[in-house]
């Protein structure tokens, strides 16, 4: 194994930028790390090169543990996105730099330099200065420079990101050819999925610091295991259906599974994926090959060169939830993305507004992860009450549950966990118990880092408090349920939202939970008192109507309320008047410093709500994202002075 990464972790401002990443790259393999911006892939590359520090984990290059070695001694070749050529040296001097350091004699240096220039397609340009070259040429020089001293491993950090599309494709081919010729073990980082597919022998997809899936591109494209990978690698049609004995049920349709089924867990729900090229369109139901999803109307069609892309809207299927393509808020349609060859398009032309029968050739089923809960307790009476509430909701939601206990001597903990297990263990897909020493904040944060959760349930009394709640809102994507005391029933839920994108996420998650609880919901929006613009009111009402429709689709009876006045007062008034069992709020958006604070209205409401649980929902618009802006305003992870 050329490159081995073991549990690599790096934290910035307390949050994991790279979260326990392990992978192995074989000799001569072209490995691509793919992910959106901020997923940590560049950081991992820099950690391998020694340009960024490591908090935890090990790196082995050709069996050598290089974790503590400076970049000079690791023997890696690194190609940067912005070339990083030495401007005051000629092309030839740039390439020969690594050779000079290794005291290679001048004649040998010249020979090697010419050889490399030939290899990258820049023969004869040795005397030029970097500023006289185009971007693509400069990157070729950078590549030659990195290869000159025959490094053990070649690392490329989005090397073609700053170049035109045509140059990019040229350079991709050049790089692939060179890599094969030299048999060089390579790690390539990119956010461009097309580039990843073209170059990779194997692909690793990352998101928010975690390595999600590994495998050959075709494998990940056709058989992804997670929702993120399915939607990130190309366009996906993703629905939630039911698993049956021998196949998958999507609404009224049944798809028998032909391929050997991956072991789908005991949960009855599955995510069903089919790609646009698996969709068949026909003018009549009989002409359709394969099971029909329904008859739909063309929303738009796009010409994309070698194929045609069509989006159709079909009537909703019962008990089928659409995950991708994303449905507009409040709509109940089923959207399908299809792609057709120009031949097919000619045979059966479709314009927006036309109707067509939609069928699916084949599907792939992913295990639907369901919800995962983290319940925290320290054995005190109030914590136990919170545990009971959390356990009840977990049972109703059929969620995988982890109980974390802390700050107690080990044998007490064991007893505690045993009791908890007995109390709520039955009826859960999985129950894990963990114990941690140390203060609650550290213990809880470390647990959320170890594994992503959908919901963290906390007691509101000391030693927990606003600080811990605030900390939990900085990182990860988990929602928060703050429980002040025991709660026997969940029949009515009050959801406070503001019109806008984050509000949609609030409604969606609250709705999911309410459905599990079998509760009714009321959507409440509070507009500022006196002089609320007619436009704002209209927008709010429209938003709430869409919200009520969405909740209805999820199976939750709902109604909408608009109030004007002070937010805190109105919420309190409505809570007491309406006899609600739970309050749902959206987490505050992050301020300019990147921290979401509970100092404002949300914090006040939480403090005031001493007799009902409060659910704080995170919108992915407010997701905690580590900013790496250095002291002089530039993104920099070079911590030591070279």
């Amino acid at each position: 194994m050329s490159i081995v990464l073991e549990q690599l972790t790096k934290r910035f401002a307390g949050h994991p930028v790279v979260n326990h990443v392990s992978l192995e790259v074989a000799d001569g393999e072209f490995f691509v790390l793919l992910g959106p911006s901020g997923s940590g892939k560049s950081t991992i590359l820099r950690m391998i090169a020694g340009l960024a520090g490591i908090d935890q984990g090990r790196i082995l290059l050709h069996g050598r543990d290089v974790t503590d070695l400076p970049p000079q001694r690791r023997g890696v070749g690194f190609v940067f996105q912005h070339y990083a050529l030495f401007h005051h040296m000629s092309v030839a001097d740039n390439i020969a730099f690594g050779l000079r350091i290794r005291r290679v004699p001048a004649a040998e240096r010249r020979r090697k330099c010419d050889e490399l220039l030939e290899l990258v397609g820049l023969a004869g340009l040795g005397v030029r200065m970097p500023t006289q070259l185009s971007g693509g040429q400069q990157q070729r020089v950078a590549l030659a420079r990195a290869l000159a001293y025959q490094p053990a491993v070649l690392l490329l950090d989005e090397p073609f990101g700053a170049l035109d599309a045509k140059i990019r494709t040229d350079l991709r081919r050049t790089l692939r050819r060179i890599q094969r010729e030299l048999g060089m073990t390579t790690i390539f980082v990119t956010h461009d999925q097309e580039e990843a597919f073209e170059l990779a022998d194997r692909l690793g997809v990352m998101n928010v610091g975690r390595l999600l899936e590994l495998g050959p591109p075709a494998e990940l494209y056709e058989h992804p295991q997670t929702e993120f990978v399915a939607t990130f690698l190309g366009t996906a049609n993703l629905l939630v259906g039911q698993a049956t004995q021998d196949g998958v049920r999507v609404g009224p349709l049944h798809f028998p599974l032909r391929t050997e089924a991956r072991q789908i867990s005991a949960t009855p729900r599955v995510q069903v994926l089919f790609r646009p090229e698996d969709v068949v369109l026909a003018p009549t139901e009989d002409a359709l090959v394969g099971p029909p999803l329904g008859q739909g109307e063309v929303e738009h069609s796009t010409f994309a060169g070698s194929f045609e892309r069509i989006r159709l809207r079909l009537p909703a299927l019962a008990q089928v939830r659409l995950i991708a393509p994303a449905v507009p808020f409040g709509s109940d349609a089923l959207l399908v993305e299809a792609s057709r060859s120009p031949d097919q398009a000619r045979h059966f032309p479709l314009r927006p507004g036309d109707r067509a029968w939609v069928g699916v050739r084949r599907i792939h089923a992913l295990a639907h992860p369901g919800l995962s809960f983290l319940l925290v307790t320290d054995g005190s009476a109030t914590a136990q009450a919170a545990l009971a509430v959390g356990g009840q909701i977990a049972r109703l939601s059929h969620a995988r549950t982890t109980i974390l206990s802390h700050s107690r001597p080990t044998d007490e903990l064991a007893q505690l966990l045993q009791t908890a297990r007995e109390q709520i263990g039955s009826g859960l897909p999985s129950l894990e118990t963990r114990s941690a020493a140390g203060p609650p904040t550290v213990a809880v944060l470390q647990e959320t880092e170890r594994q992503p959760y959908d919901l963290v349930v906390l007691d509101t009394h000391p030693p927990y408090g606003m600080d811990l709640a605030e900390e939990l809102l900085q990182t990860g994507e988990h929602h928060l349920l703050l429980v002040p005391r025991a709660q026997p029933t969940f029949a009515r839920v009050l959801i406070c939202v503001a019109a806008g994108e984050p509000g949609k996420d609030d409604v969606l998650f609250a709705g999911r939970l309410a459905r599990h609880l079998g509760a009714e919901a009321t959507l409440l929006s509070v507009l500022p008192a006196g002089g609320a613009l007619a436009m704002a009111r209209l927008r709010t009402e429209r938003f709430l109507d869409a919200g009520v429709r969405t909740l209805g689709l999820l199976g939750v009876p709902a109604e909408a309320l608009v109030r004007t006045g002070a937010v805190l007062d109105e919420i309190q008034a409505e809570m007491t008047a309406g006899g609600y069992d739970m309050l749902v709020l959206g987490a505050p958006l992050h301020g300019s410093d990147g921290r979401g604070v509970l100092a404002g209205v949300v914090g006040q409401v939480i403090s005031a709500m001493t007799d009902r649980p409060v659910l704080i929902v995170r919108s992915h618009y407010a997701a905690g994202r580590a900013r790496w802006v250095g002291p002089n305003g530039r993104v920099s992870l070079v911590e030591e002075v070279l």
């Binding site: 970049p71 990083a84 030495f86 990195a146 001293y149």
Partner: protein, 283 residues
């Protein structure tokens, strides 16, 4: 009625029709009065005896010694300043430590302190009656005050910010990726500094050094206090000129002034040329 094509002038001068010309005229007049006319007069006066007249004046023993002393003390100071200014700039930009902001502000202090005060400070610190001065004198046989070493120290104090401030912004905006690239290729810290960082700093370093040299040639206040006015020993060109003026020898003063001006002028031009070349090269 036929439409007439009206050529519209750019809006900048519309509201103040005399504005554009006024601004230019104002700036040129100010420059002329404050700089050009006095310089022209000095040149005319100093060269009134022709070039031979100038040569006669400065080749006289006292004047010649003053000129040579000025040149070598300023030269030595410039070299030291280049090295230490570079080091200071590097520390201020690349390291972070408590009190850094304060240190950064102090660098500019010599601009604000009267040069006489600078001289007094040095006398207080290194005067022969003081412990430090006495120690230097007795143990090392080195006299600081009223001797050339004092002159160099005074010049170093006064021109301290020049190199630091020209190098600092360039160092600050350097792209670290080049240094990272060098590191991955096996270059240690010193090699990276020599082959990657220093070449990028060459221009600001040299122009900063030239500027400090030019400034040093004309230094008066600090030197008069630190070095006294001993002809053929510690009398620099500027002090010599002062002496000549005091003793009513305007001709001699002008001649020496012309020489000093010529040197300073060419240095400033050279520094400016270098910076212009560098800007063009970077574009």
């Amino acid at each position: 009625m036929a439409t007439i094509a009206v050529s519209r002038e750019p809006d900048t001068g519309r509201s103040l029709p005399w504005g554009r010309w006024g601004v230019r005229a104002g700036a040129m007049t100010y420059l002329a009065f404050m700089l050009i006319i006095p310089l022209a007069v000095i040149f005319q006066d100093g060269l009134s005896g022709g070039l031979t007249g100038v040569w006669q004046t400065i080749s006289e023993r006292v004047a010649w010694h003053a000129l040579v002393l000025t040149l070598w003390t300023s030269g030595l100071m410039a070299l030291i300043n280049a090295l230490m200014g570079l080091l200071t700039a590097y520390v201020l930009v690349r390291y972070s430590f408590p009190g850094q902001a304060l240190l950064n502000a102090i660098v500019d202090l010599p601009f604000a302190i009267p040069t006489l005060v600078a001289g007094v400070t040095l006398v207080v610190l290194y005067g022969p009656q003081r412990a430090l001065g006495a120690w230097f004198d007795q143990t090392l046989g080195l006299r600081i005050i009223f001797a050339p070493p004092g002159i160099v120290l005074a010049l170093l104090f006064v021109t301290f910010p020049f190199v630091v401030r020209t190098v600092q912004p360039v160092l600050q905006s350097l792209d670290r990726e080049q240094e990272e690239a060098a590191a991955t290729m096996g270059a240690g810290a010193w090699l990276t500094f020599r082959r990657v960082v220093l070449p990028a700093l060459a221009v600001p370093l040299i122009s900063g050094t030239l500027l400090s040299f030019a400034r040093a040639i004309g230094e008066f206040g600090a030197i008069v206090v630190v070095a006294g006015n001993i002809p053929l020993r510690t009398q620099t060109a500027a002090v010599y000129v002062f002496g000549e003026i005091e003793s009513q020898n305007r001709r001699g003063a002008s001649a020496m002034s012309v020489v000093m001006l010529a040197i300073a002028f060419s240095l400033v031009l050279l520094a400016d040329l270098l910076q212009r070349r560098a800007r063009k090269g970077a574009a």
